[in-house]
């Protein structure tokens, strides 16, 4: 019996050794070529995927935090964005007298960033960072006019009451279906009309805008939302 078991084990050992030796035979030139081709395909696919993952993008936002390697901003859509900074990133500020770098960027600054956006990590590797400014744009209805001080009180659809200062340099236009966009003036502006104002926010009063451009629409009345918001303001 023992003899039979030993014979069986010996046969099994032999067959295992033979198969291993078979597998370990040296690859043929065809195999090598195929291996190189596969490696190349893998490398190219990886590079293409990498290129698709990164794209050039430009964003604007307000700085909420800045370190030596990263800037955090809140963009124009109110999203928090993370910007990576490296030794290739160039910084500029049109108002700066000397050199300008990351250490000069402070919380509250408005910056424009041009760089490489990674779709996977959703971060931007900044190549250019510059200090900029954002115009304030107000959409709403004219709820009252202060003719003495050249101020238009504009109520927005979300219920904000903005005082719009009209100055000599303010470019005022009106728009009608018939005449299109026409040059106009403060005296032509009437209450209960829709208006779009572009300007600069008063640093002391966040509800005050110094207008640079105005377009009002004599044919378009106040939005129902503006009316409702205006009623709410009056009832307070």
């Amino acid at each position: 019996m023992k003899k039979y078991i030993l014979a069986l084990l010996f046969t099994a050992f032999l067959s295992c050794t033979a198969s291993t030796a078979n597998a370990a035979t040296s690859p043929t030139p065809e195999d090598k070529t195929a291996e190189i081709r596969d490696q190349l395909i893998t490398n190219i696919a990886s590079r293409v995927a990498q290129l698709k993952l990164v794209e050039r993008r430009g964003i604007i936002g307000e700085v909420s935090d800045a370190t030596n390697t990263q800037i955090t901003i809140t963009d124009s859509q109110n999203n928090t964005r993370f910007i990576d900074v490296d030794e290739l990133t160039k910084f500029s500020d049109p108002t700066a007298k000397g050199t300008f770098g990351i250490s000069d960027i402070e919380k509250g600054d408005i910056i424009g960033v041009l760089g490489l956006y990674n779709k996977e990590s959703r971060r931007i590797l900044a190549r250019f960072v510059n200090i900029t400014s954002l115009p304030t744009i107000v959409h709403g209805g004219i709820t009252s006019i202060d003719n003495e001080n050249y101020v238009l009180n504009v109520t927005t659809e979300d219920g904000k009451l903005i005082a719009v200062e009209v100055e000599n340099l303010t470019r005022t236009n009106s728009y009608t279906q018939e005449d299109g966009l026409m040059k106009s003036g403060f005296s032509k502006i009437k209450e209960n009309l829709s208006i779009v104002v572009t300007g600069v926010l008063d640093k002391k009063d966040k509800n005050r805008v110094i207008a640079t451009r105005i377009i009002f629409f004599p044919e378009i009345p106040l939005s129902p939302k503006v009316n409702a918001a205006s009623e709410r303001v009056k009832s307070r």
């Binding site: 430009g58 964003i59 859509q77 490489l116 728009y175 829709s194 451009r213 939005s223 939302k225």
Partner: protein, 141 residues
């Protein structure tokens, strides 16, 4: 002898079980269960979703796009009787869409980052705004 041992073991186990049962019963009867205080949960009535009477979609340009030409095509769709206001940092334009609501125009960009704001205003005054950041740059990186 063995039989006696087994009987004793059985009796001891039985006694142990009886004692444990009695103790458990006593514990259960003396346990004070605090009555749950009643809470009144008031469910806030769901705020009705305001359906805007006007819609606006922008096909071009893409937000945060970097372009190498100063003239930018702006196109999209809104309702046919809307008035469209297109504002950039330095220019403004007011247009009306075609009968199917589609519109297309061009705007001039300034160097660097530009804020493009497109507003569609319905005849009743309701408006909808889309804001995009477009960067004009010839930098290679």
């Amino acid at each position: 002898m063995k039989k006696e041992k087994l009987i004793l073991l059985f009796i001891a186990t039985l006694l142990g079980l009886v004692v444990a049962g009695v103790l458990f019963y006593l514990y259960q009867t003396t346990k004070i269960v605090s009555t749950p205080s009643t809470k009144t949960i008031t469910l806030a009535s769901p705020t009705p979703t305001v359906i805007p009477s006007i819609s606006l979609t922008l096909d071009r340009p893409k937000d945060e796009e970097v372009v190498s030409e100063k003239v930018l095509i702006v196109s999209g769709k809104t309702q046919s009787n809307a008035t469209i206001v297109i504002l950039t940092d330095s220019s403004e334009d007011v247009i009306t869409p075609s009968a199917d609501g589609k519109f297309s125009t061009t705007v001039n960009l300034e160097d660097g980052e530009n804020i493009l704001e497109v507003t569609a205003i319905a005849p009743n005054g309701e408006s909808i705004v889309i804001k995009k950041t477009i960067t004009y740059s010839l930098e290679e990186f």
